[in-house]
């Protein structure tokens, strides 16, 4: 056995706090090590060439690279040694950067620790076995979760690229938040006018299958071969018959149903079509408001429906879809203003949220585009916008910036002036965050051309006085306290993760941060990938972002799926569990613990029961190996012998 060891400097990243030459010198003393050296940038082309040359020259048959995390470059170096004729699993990496040089300043201690780490890698590599991947067929269908603008973009791009798409949307219509917006910054173009055609394309594309009012029930499988169970929630209306005529909604006597689409700005009927441009344009019943459900009698809609579509007996239905990749675009939520008691916490009707204001501005909203105060339906003349309502405030659990509120406040101030020329808008702000293209100019226009008065400071309290709302705050530029008597107050309440985001992440086996936003594989270099291969992210589900960024990510995720599906076969990772049938006693503890359901029971010819691993399902997590009382199930590339060899290496003095 001839092991070659390459210690990387990573510029000064490693060499700054580890004596790399000494590590190399120490390694030369280790039995089995035929060659050890240190090198400036091992991952560079000359660095890799050096490894290849040394393999030939020194007749090396096992390689250790002591450098950064294997997450970063294990694949790089596996390819390198493969090119030099070695099996790629004859490589081990010792992570002396993230685990050692970056976390300690004591060079002596670091160097000693690095020597141990590299010794472990040497011991391991000497016990490595050659492994070979098998390949499997890819199901070239893609699941997109969430039909907001990001999800629709991903779905359309995939479909245009020739893929079959399954789009699952939780609410009755696609469109997401953007469908609720009036105009969009920084161009003030009508939101539904630019979104509507996309929604129609989604509905009409022959490669897109839409499951609206549906949720993900269960996800099984792995990249290339997922089995998805989708729960189609009961709408109590047979959508194959419903024509969207809206007669039921007109006649329904239950008028106080909460309107989710309009964020409660006005009530809706118990049977409703969310908005005129809805896709699909179908009715559904909210059973908690429907008299038929609550009181057991009514049946008005069933009588009126010309196509006999109403079905009060309808049940949720589970359908299954097989796909090979998943794009998650489940969007965002908004902070409940209950959490902001100093701003009334929802007690004052004339203190509303930004999204509710969008609905007041919108021609197809409950007020038909007339800005009217919720309390007395009069036109407000003084409007105060409060930015960072909850955002950047640790005390409500939102330390981050919500990204697009500064911009939509400027937009709403401009639109307010358009709607009510003799109005005056005030904006309380901490700082104006408008770094996008054309964005700063836009916020300036709100101030300079539309006369919005920007006050730099936070609002401490909002309280009613007569029929006005007094907004009390600080003007930190004047160093004074200010009070504005407003007719209407609009809170830019913080952006949060979408409701149910964490539960969905658990089903997908992807990670999410403390706030519920999904975590990308690398913040700079892999922004739409997750750490679960085959699952991609798009839009505000990953963090607050505006429409241009959401659409960009939708397209990026689609490109990733198209690249993945450009091959017919994918290579499987051979580092999976295998059963030594002669040691297995058939207790099947492994079967019970495997979180992926990869272990099954198998009967041998003599009638002996043993465990057996389904190669494509095993994720290589290793849970089974620590459960097995006989050591019969072993994870290839991480066998007991290999791990013990590492332990022995550092226990030797």
């Amino acid at each position: 056995m001839r092991v070659g060891v390459f210690i990387c400097h990573c510029g000064s990243n490693i060499a700054g706090t580890i004596d790399v030459a000494r590590v190399a010198a120490e390694m030369r003393k280790v039995p089995g090590v035929a060659f050890a050296t240190n090198y400036m940038y091992t991952c560079s082309e000359p660095g890799q060439d050096e490894i290849k040359a040394a393999i030939k020259r020194e007749k090396l048959n096992r390689i250790v690279v002591a450098a950064c995390s294997p997450r970063m470059h294990e694949l790089t170096f596996r390819r390198t040694i493969e090119k030099a004729g070695l099996n790629r699993y004859f490589l081990e990496m010792a992570n002396i950067r993230e685990h050692i040089s970056w976390i300690g300043l004591d060079k002596e201690a670091n160097t000693n620790k690095a020597i141990d780490a590299v010794k472990m890698a040497v011991a391991k590599v000497m016990n490595n076995k050659p492994l070979f991947s098998s390949s499997f067929k890819v199901n070239k269908r893609v699941l997109v979760i969430g039909g907001g603008v990001a999800g629709m973009q991903a779905a359309l791009d995939c479909a245009d690229g020739g893929l079959e798409v399954v789009l699952v949307e939780k609410s009755p219509s696609v469109g997401g938040m953007m469908a609720r917006l009036d105009k969009t910054f920084p161009t003030i173009d009508c939101s539904i006018c630019i979104l509507g055609p996309k929604m129609v394309d989604v509905a009409q594309h022959d490669k897109i299958k839409l499951h609206a009012y549906s949720e993900i029930d269960e996800i099984k499988g792995y990249v290339g071969n997922y089995q998805i169970k989708i729960k189609k929630k009961a709408t109590y209306v047979d959508w194959t018959k419903c024509t969207g005529c809206g007669l039921c909604m007109e006649k329904c006597p239950s008028k106080n149903s909460y309107d989710h689409f309009n964020f409660g700005v006005a009530p809706t009927k118990a049977i409703n079509i969310p908005f005129p441009q809805a896709i699909p344009k179908k009715a559904k019943i909210d059973p908690q408001y429907c008299r038929q459900f609550v009181k057991g009698k009514c049946g008005v809609c069933a009588k009126i429906c010309p196509t006999g579509a109403i079905n009060y007996e309808m049940q949720d239905e589970i359908v299954t879809e097989d796909v090979g990749a998943i794009v998650v675009a489940s969007g965002y939520g908004l902070l409940d203003i209950d959490k902001l008691p100093e701003y009334g916490g929802g007690r004052y009707p004339d203190v509303i949220t930004g999204i509710q204001y969008e609905r007041l501005l919108n021609a197809s909203g409950p007020t038909e585009g007339h800005i009217l105060r919720p309390s007395d339906k009069t036109e407000p003349k003084t409007i105060v916008f409060v930015s960072c309502a909850g955002s950047r405030d640790k005390s409500v659990g939102v330390p981050y910036c919500s990204n697009f509120c500064c911009m939509y406040i400027a937009k709403q101030a401009i639109l307010t002036k358009d709607h009510i020329p003799d109005s005056q808008s005030y904006v309380f702000y901490m700082d104006i965050r408008s770094p996008g293209k054309g964005y700063d100019e836009f916020t300036r226009r709100a101030q300079e051309d539309y006369g919005a008065k920007y006050i730099r400071g936070r609002v401490s309290r909002i309280y009613p006085k007569g029929n006005k709302m007094v907004v009390q705050g600080a003007d930190t530029l004047l160093g004074a306290q200010v009070e504005v008597e407003a007719d209407l107050v609009v809170l830019a309440n913080a952006v949060t993760a979408a409701p149910g985001a964490a539960a969905l992440a658990e089903k997908l086996h992807i990670s999410y941060d403390t706030f519920g936003f999904y975590v990308e594989s690398h913040p700079k270099l892999r922004p739409v990938e997750t750490n679960t291969s085959g699952v991609y992210l798009a839009g505000a589900a990953q963090g607050p972002k505006d429409i241009p960024a959401s659409v960009g990510q939708g397209s990026a995720a689609a490109a990733k799926v198209l690249a993945l599906f450009s091959k017919d076969m994918l290579e499987s990772d051979p580092a999976i569990a295998r059963v030594n049938e002669s040691n297995c006693v058939g207790c099947l503890k492994c079967k019970m613990t495997c979180p992926f359901g990869a272990v099954v029971e198998k009967e041998l010819r003599g009638g002996k029961i043993v465990a057996s691993v389904i190669e494509t399902v095993c994720a290589g997590c290793g849970v089974c190996t620590s459960t097995c009382p006989c050591g019969a199930i072993q994870l290839s590339h991480f066998t007991d012998n290999q791990l013990l060899a590492e332990v022995n290496a550092i226990c030797q003095i």
Partner: protein
């Protein structure tokens, strides 16, 4: 309700400027079957000015009392004054959460404090332990003309991490207690607004302005008196009203009562027992409207009968006009 027993730390204000808070609180607790046990040899709670100088010293002053109470064998001390409460809770929570702080404080004490006493405001005891139902049961009298603005002040519920009771921005415990005894409560937006009391000496004009704002808002909300649970709030709003009137050109005449005095009035206690004669802005006119619950019921019934009769008459009139 089983009889309850609490340690009761009145503090210095309640022996002086706020003696009526002490009197009324004791009467109300007595009526509710609560026994109060006063710690012997109690001393300063350590709030202003100690806490502006040294946290360890301030905590030690508070903890001295807590350690005495701990020895009495009770696990809860109820404290009427929010400043005392805040000092106690800061010491208690600080010593519980931080070992080195506990050592530093105990170092200054003869007897160490081991963290066995939880300090609670009298309001919290009423609201959480005794409960609205039991509070309502003792009511014998009504104050039908009273409309109360409940004023909690700035420190009773703040900071939330220390106070650990009710909402820091929109507290409701006093509202609910007053409603439970049948008193009308106004929708008062300045429940926790600063009245400026702490600046009474260095910045009088500011305090006058802030006090005027609170009083104004109470009137705007339709109230004819203000209920408080803090000696400093009471003193500031009550004592300073004439000063506010003379400097701001206003004409305020709003009685500022402790919530316990109002509760006591509905329990049929005499104004004297409740120390109502100690108020600067007299509440006599309001108190004079007090009637028994039975009387109120009679009045209500009479009113309803009158209304019914009127309706009947109207109906009759209508039918007769229709006939003609």
């Amino acid at each position: 309700m089983a009889d309850r027993e609490y340690a009761y730390y009145a503090g210095c204000s309640l022996e002086g400027t706020a003696v009526e808070y002490d009197m009324s609180m004791r009467q109300v607790f007595k009526a509710l079957g609560v026994t109060l046990r006063e710690p012997e040899d109690w001393s300063c709670c350590g709030s202003t000015p100690a806490h502006t100088v040294d946290h360890v010293l301030a905590a030690a002053l508070a903890a001295r009392n807590l350690s005495i109470i701990e020895k009495m064998g009770t696990d809860t001390v109820t404290v009427p004054c929010p400043s005392c409460l805040s000092a106690f809770k800061r010491a208690h929570l600080g010593m519980k959460g931080d070992e080195s702080f506990r050592h530093a404080v105990n170092e200054l004490l003869d007897e160490p404090y081991n963290g066995g006493v939880s300090p609670k405001s009298t309001l919290q005891i009423m609201y959480e332990d005794i409960g609205l139902e039991a509070i309502a049961k003792k009511v014998t009298h009504a104050l039908p003309d009273l409309v109360v603005a409940p004023y909690y002040g700035c420190i009773l519920n703040r900071p939330p991490a220390i106070a650990q009771f009710d909402d820091p921005e929109n507290p409701i415990s006093m509202d609910r207690i007053l409603e439970a005894i049948g008193v009308k409560v106004s929708n008062f937006a300045f429940k926790v607004e600063c009245c400026g009391a702490a600046f009474g000496v260095p910045k009088r004009e500011m305090v006058n302005r802030l006090t005027a704002r609170v009083l104004n808002m109470a009137l705007d909300s339709g109230a004819n008196c203000i209920a408080v649970a803090c000696p400093l709030c009471q003193q500031n709003l009550d004592l300073r009203q004439s000063q506010v009137n003379s400097t701001m050109g206003t004409n305020f005449n709003i009685p500022i009562l402790y919530f316990s005095q109002i509760v006591g009035l509905t329990y049929g206690l005499s104004p004297r027992e409740l120390g109502l004669d100690k108020l600067i802005v007299s509440a006599d006119v309001l108190v004079a409207t007090r009637i028994t619950v039975e009387e109120l019921a009679r009045k209500k019934a009479a009113l309803e009968a009158e209304e019914k009769a009127q309706k009947a008459r109207k109906k009759e009139d209508k039918t007769t006009t229709e006939e003609t």
